[in-house]
Assembly symmetry: C2
Homo-oligomer: 135 residues x 2
Amino acid sequence: MSEQRPETNQPRENHDARDEAYDPSASSLTGTADPEVMAELLHIRSSIDNIDAALVYMLAERFRCTQRVGWLKARHQLPPSDPGRETAQIQRLHRLAEEAHLDPAFAEKFLNFVIDEVIRHHEAISETHAAGAGN
Amino acid sequence: MSEQRPETNQPRENHDARDEAYDPSASSLTGTADPEVMAELLHIRSSIDNIDAALVYMLAERFRCTQRVGWLKARHQLPPSDPGRETAQIQRLHRLAEEAHLDPAFAEKFLNFVIDEVIRHHEAISETHAAGAGN
């Protein structure tokens, strides 16, 4: 069986930019950097791309969980935010970040960034639930 | 050989608040919400805590990779940012987010949040490298 996949490897014309196949070697540095340096750069970027896919799927799963929390809170008229939980989460994340050699200040900024989005979701769920209750 | 580690399992006194053991049931809702609802909430939060640990370690590994990129760029006098790469990353992330049912706008905001931090790291590395070159 041939391993060649001529169809998918051909450059396509008249396509939408959003449908364009991902080019892992896309770079503004091509032609300006030494080919060996570019090869090393692309090697590391390939790991970054794998990690980004893991992060996207992990974040998606986290939002599935927080959506469940949102519905639960809306159903039982609980407030969208929970300061006691957030304080405990931030302390835990500091410790985890130190263990993982990640800047704890960045980890806290990251958690706040995610929590802001979660609270937006919970508020939207709460509004939907309130609107639904009138039916 | 005993598996007990009495030293580490003892509650400690006079400890720093930052050293305090994580309480997965910490919540400002305790006592105000129905115990069954609280139990369901804590069950979901346990999954969120696992995902957060995974995210912290994934982010730490991502920054290890981007630190390597930073040193490579500094050693070869390449610019800290790479707009061609960033455009390709954002397009790929949109597609990944759609597959994972994560809001693509949030995924893009998340990538920009991480890239801002990476560029700050690269600039710091570049300054360190420039300072070192004078020695």
